[in-house]
Amino acid sequence: MRKSDYTILVADDDPDYLFQTISNLSRAGYKTVAAESQAEAEAVITRFRPSLAIFDLMMENDDSGFILCYKIKRKYPDVPVILATAVAHETGISFSLDSEAEKSWIRADIYLEKGIRAEQLDQEIMKLLKI
């Protein structure tokens, strides 16, 4: 399959970050769906199965990203999920998702610090999609 056969759902309440991520993914060749809130992302998930999802952690709730991870994995267990946040250092939330224990409660496949380069993000996506 080519990259254009994959649709990536991106949920972020920062309109600029959302715009930039969508634009980077389109340039890399993916199809994209944007959601500006947890509620919007939930609505997308109910009617459509994305190939991969990228969720911001803090949206209208502090744990919006976790909730979305949980919901998407329950509906589509095999859709890879990336959890993105800018707050890891400050909140003391640190998770690597390396251990089984962490994977059991954070239902994301990988966790990325916000602000990573477009190429890096593309690398991670290709790994998850096994392209």
Partner: protein, 378 residues
């Protein structure tokens, strides 16, 4: 009902059973306490036994005889102090020499109960100690909560500061990599958005400065007679350029030329924030009004707009730090989420109140009431 553990260390069985009997039915309550205190008495005949019970039971109060068969009371006291616990120790002794008193004080004994004592003497000592214990606990609890709130504040703050940096950085990279073309005109949106995010960050920093200002200790000498109408005029002049840009007309209605004893800077913070909100969340062609009035007790200032309004569900957290109402209508409005929390803190400094009335799509009114008899609370 809270129970404090009292350990009495005395080699005389009569003293021990006396203390137990007196405190069994004794209760302490002060108007500022949220519950009554009663006592459970533990007994030890020697210093060694007293230490063993202290280790096991962690008593709140120890009544300690100095003259004991083996280890002396002062040594027990020294041991307890080195344990660094919150236990309060009162010495009970019939040989209250100056030497013992000085030593006992040095090792942190808080009270002396001379032997023999009447039930009333014991009770009033216990009452005092209980008050001290209560205040210690409350202070401890408040420090804990303060730490938690500061921590949460800082973590949200750094998120709020990093988000615009990430956004601007992302746009600069798009330009560096010439993602949309070779001409500067190809990047009109990224440039505009970057400028907006930087403006948002500047507002946040200005608000933070206000925030630290009101958190500093208040000084009474800045308090002066202030005409609210002049504060209102200044606030309107300040907001005017923004109002013209937003096509909102701002005016003041003086129903009563109210005067207040206040620090003018505090009133400016209240007026500037609320007027600028009335403009910011308005519609083109809309109106914003400052209405100044008073009754016998308060001055009453209302800030009314014809703007987008606030849904009832969103009003609950409106005055909390970093809370911003996110919806379709507010998505292009930048703000720090600190303005209203600052206003509320200043209003409360003057023992005033702030309330909000709003109808979505019709408009919002914030009403500030400030008592004329001002007692500044820090």
């Amino acid at each position: 009902m809270a129970v404090l553990k009292v350990l009495v260390v005395d080699d005389e069985p009569g003293i021990r059973s006396g203390v137990t009997r007196i405190l069994k039915s004794f209760q302490v309550n002060y108007p500022f306490m949220d519950e009554d205190y009663s006592y459970e008495v533990l007994e030890a005949a020697t210093g060694e036994e007293g230490i063993a019970i202290t280790e096991r039971e962690k008593p709140d109060i120890i009544l300690l005889d100095n003259k004991l068969p083996g280890m002396q009371g002062i040594e027990v006291l020294e041991y307890i102090r080195n344990r660094n616990s919150d236990t309060v120790v009162a010495m009970i002794t019939s040989y209250a020499s100056l030497d013992v008193a000085v030593k006992a004080h040095k090792f942190g004994a808080t009270d002396f109960i001379p032997k023999p004592f009447t039930p009333q003497e014991l009770k009033s000592s216990i009452e005092n100690i209980t008050k001290q214990q209560y205040l210690k606990r409350i202070t401890h609890k408040m420090n804990e909560e303060g730490r938690k709130i500061r921590y949460q504040f800082l973590s949200v703050l750094s998120h709020e500061l990093k988000a615009p940096l990430n956004a601007v950085e992302g746009y600069l990279r798009m330009m560096q990599e010439k993602q949309s073309g070779d001409l500067i005109e190809d990047y009109a949106i990224p440039v505009e958005r970057s400028l907006q995010r930087i403006q948002g960050m500047r507002n946040l920093i200005m608000d933070l400065l206000d925030f630290t200002k009101i958190r500093l200790e208040r000084k009474d000498e800045k308090i002066e007679e202030v005409h609210l109408s002049s504060i209102a005029s200044n606030a309107i002049v300040t907001v005017q350029p923004y109002a013209i840009q937003m096509e909102v007309s701002v005016l003041q209605i003086i129903k009563s030329d109210a005067v207040l004893m206040a620090d003018p800077t505090d009133l400016e913070i209240i007026f500037n924030n609320l007027v600028s909100n009335s403009v910011k969340y308005n519609k083109p062609g809309g109106k914003a009004e400052i209405i100044i009035d008073e009754d016998e007790k308060d001055v009453i200032v209302s800030f009314t707009d014809t703007g987008i309004g606030i849904k009832e569900a969103d009003r609950e957290n409106l005055f909390s730090e970093f809370v911003r109402i996110k919806n379709e209508k507010t998505r292009n409005i930048t703000g720090s989420g600190l303005g209203l929390s600052i206003v509320k803190k200043v209003v409360e400094l003057y023992n005033g109140t702030i309330t909000v009335d709003s109808v979505p799509d019709i408009g919002t009114t914030f009403t500030v009431r400030l008592p004329k008899k001002v007692k500044i609370t820090s």
